[in-house]
Amino acid sequence: MAGSTLEIKDLHVEIEGEEILKGVNLTINGGEFHAVMGPNGTGKSTLASAIMGHPKYEVTKGQVLLDGEDVLEMEVDERAQAGLFLAMQYPSEISGVTNSDFLRSSINAQREEGDEIPLMQFIKEMDATMDSLEIDKNMAQRYLNEGFSGGEKKRNEILQLMMLKPAIGVLDEIDSGLDIDALKVVSQGINQMRDDKFGCLIITHYQRLLDYITPDHVHVMMQGRVVKSGGPELAHRLEAEGYDWIKEELGIDDETVGQKA
């Protein structure tokens, strides 16, 4: 098995009646790292949220398939159990639920009843993963994301990614708010996940993340669509020249979603 395949076909998404995604097409295979880039306001985070089933986003047209299964028909928890994971840009704070209890519940939710992860094994794995992400040990007993700094929240998302080992990971602006040292640590964690089964969709508007994680495919989003795709060299050109040359190619002035043609 070469892992799972996530197919996004002609995806249209609205938020509060306004269309944000206007026909996105993307296919991510197990073993591949895809980067979706683009300036702010072009629909990147909407794509990530819609794949996972964020309650504010309404899919009006198109398909999302995981190994041929209709993801859009699934509840959010079923999507996770099918193998999807979203590292969120703004993870919720949940008082009274410790990070460690949450993680264990999450892992057990994806295992059969009666096959729960043994406590000692869980603690060992969590400790080792926290060490590799240079996370303070007391974070395990703190309430989920409550009072976490921006950097701590991002590391916590990657901790969950590494512990839950999904088939397809979607990382929404995982680099925003991280200083360079934290960025390196987080990137190392993501790189550790790389194997021939794990597929990853990395959403960013900074090229600098891609200095540490080399994508196999790079896509540029503007006006709610993927307007250009290429290999790692596309990221390098964007780093050197910015986005203006793409806008020129396409003949557009404003790359954001709200623009009427």
Binding site: G53, V76, Q81, L86, S92, V97, S105
Partner: protein, 435 residues
């Protein structure tokens, strides 16, 4: 429907009841005066809860309860409250109006600790009980219900910890209303003398889903100078019980009083928790949780009054409302003139689980002193869909995600309950009430 507002018991009954119990004259006197006051005084005034149709008069007053020889005689519901190691626990089990079981370790007896039912205490330590009983804590003449409490008192516990004695093991009382119509007019008198320390936990349990009765309970807690008292409670009266609960603290210089209250009654409830910070550098945390369900209506007041300089009071109330339950949460921080450098903080939060439920948080700060710190936070809201999305995105089902959010919401108070088995049991009560 007309509701009977007069007691089915007369003054003659109260006199005979007192004589039957061989009570000291001073107490019989309080009862009879209280009986007259109860006729005249008005019901307690609640700003936002209507109690006119609540049952305060239909109940059986004098119901005996058998002594137990073994804990096996207790129903499962009571045994889970006691947990492991109960044989060694300093414990009183009250069954209806009688003591079914009582134990205080020889060690604590040797140190002068008194822990007995209030009628025994009135016989054996009459002066001590008289000194504190409804004098500086709750007064007989506050309203009709406090007066009825004194007139009809049928149960209670006296706990006295002498100067400098530190009681390490928690002390527990279970009030079990085995008879579905038995009323509980219960008085807890807890005196922690100077520089002593004690942890006390009480459970109230009944099973009267259909039958109506009344619980009118008063706790008076005195933390004298330098003393430290932890007071935990799980109130779990069934639907048929109308409850009037008064918990009152008096805190001396450098003393601490910590309340952790699980207010889990299923019937209509008025629950008032007032702490008077009399001494300089006194401190109190008043933490309470509740879950409202069915058609029940509840009125909660947490009130900390600052008299001593540099006194600190922290109120934390969290409530979950479902079905058509209605609850009012009053948080009152009062700083008297002269209580300089005091800090009065409060937080009341209500989580609504259904459209028919009602919750209202009223934060009140009354400050008569310039040099103080004070703050309040209050909110009434629903379960945040983004929190559910986040939890579910990790594979957790909607039901389990809601459960986590609700338990998490109540946990800051639940984990403060002193005895672990009671804490576990409170979590189970919450689980049972929420689902």
């Amino acid at each position: 429907m007309a509701v009977e507002t007069h007691l089915p018991y007369d003054k003659q009954y109260v006199t005979e009841y007192s004589e039957k119990r061989n009570e000291p004259a001073w107490f019989k006197d309080i009862r009879l005066k209280a009986f007259d006051l109860a006729e005249e005084l008005p019901m307690p005034k609640l700003e936002k809860t209507r109690i006119r149709n609540w049952n305060f008069t239909n109940f059986k007053h004098d119901v005996a309860g058998n002594h137990i020889e073994s804990f096996d005689e207790l129903p499962e519901k009571i045994r889970v409250l006691l947990g492991e190691g109960v044989e060694d626990r300093n414990l009183i089990v009250v069954r209806n109006s009688d003591v079914a079981y009582a134990k205080l370790s020889e060690n604590l007896k040797g140190k002068g600790v008194i822990f007995e039912d209030i009628f025994t205490a009135m016989e054996e330590h009459s002066d001590l009980v008289q000194k504190y009983f409804m004098q500086d804590g709750v007064s007989v003449d506050e309203n009709k219900l406090t007066a009825r409490h004194a007139a009809l008192l049928n149960s209670g516990v006296f706990l006295y910890v002498p100067k400098n004695v530190v009681v390490d093991e928690p002390i527990q009382v279970v009030f079990w209303q085995e008879d579905n119509e038995a009323a509980l007019y219960n008085h807890v008198l807890l005196v922690a003398d100077q520089h002593s320390q004690v942890t006390y936990v009480e459970n109230y349990v009944s099973n009267n889903e259909e039958e109506e009765t009344v619980a009118n309970t008063v706790s008076e807690v005195f933390a004298l100078d330098g003393a430290k008292v932890s007071y935990g409670a799980v109130d779990n009266f069934a639907k048929g019980t109308t409850s009037y609960v008064n918990r009152r603290g008096t805190v001396g210089r450098d003393a601490t009083l910590e309340w952790a209250l699980g207010q889990m009654n299923d019937g209509n409830t008025i629950s008032e928790n007032i702490t008077n910070l009399m001494g300089d550098n006194s401190l109190s945390h008043a933490k309470a949780v509740t879950v409202g369900r069915g058609n029940q209506s509840q009125d909660f007041t947490a009130n900390i009054r600052h008299y001593g300089k540099a006194s600190e009071g922290y109120i934390l109330q969290h409530g979950v409302m479902k079905d058509r339950a209605a609850s009012i949460f009053n948080g009152i921080g009062k700083v008297e003139n002269g209580a300089a450098q005091s800090n009065a903080e409060q937080e009341s939060r209500v989580l609504m689980l259904s459209d028919g439920a009602r919750g209202d948080a009223n934060p009140i700060l009354l400050i008569d002193e310039d040099d103080v710190t004070a703050g309040h936070a209050a909110s009434v809201g629903r379960v945040d869909p983004l929190q559910l999305f986040y939890l579910m995105s990790r594979g957790i089902s909607r039901k389990e995600a809601e459960r986590l959010v609700i338990h998490g919401f109540l946990d800051p108070v639940v984990r403060e309950i002193p005895i672990e088995t009671v804490q576990t049991q409170l979590r189970e009560v919450i689980e049972g009430k929420v689902y």
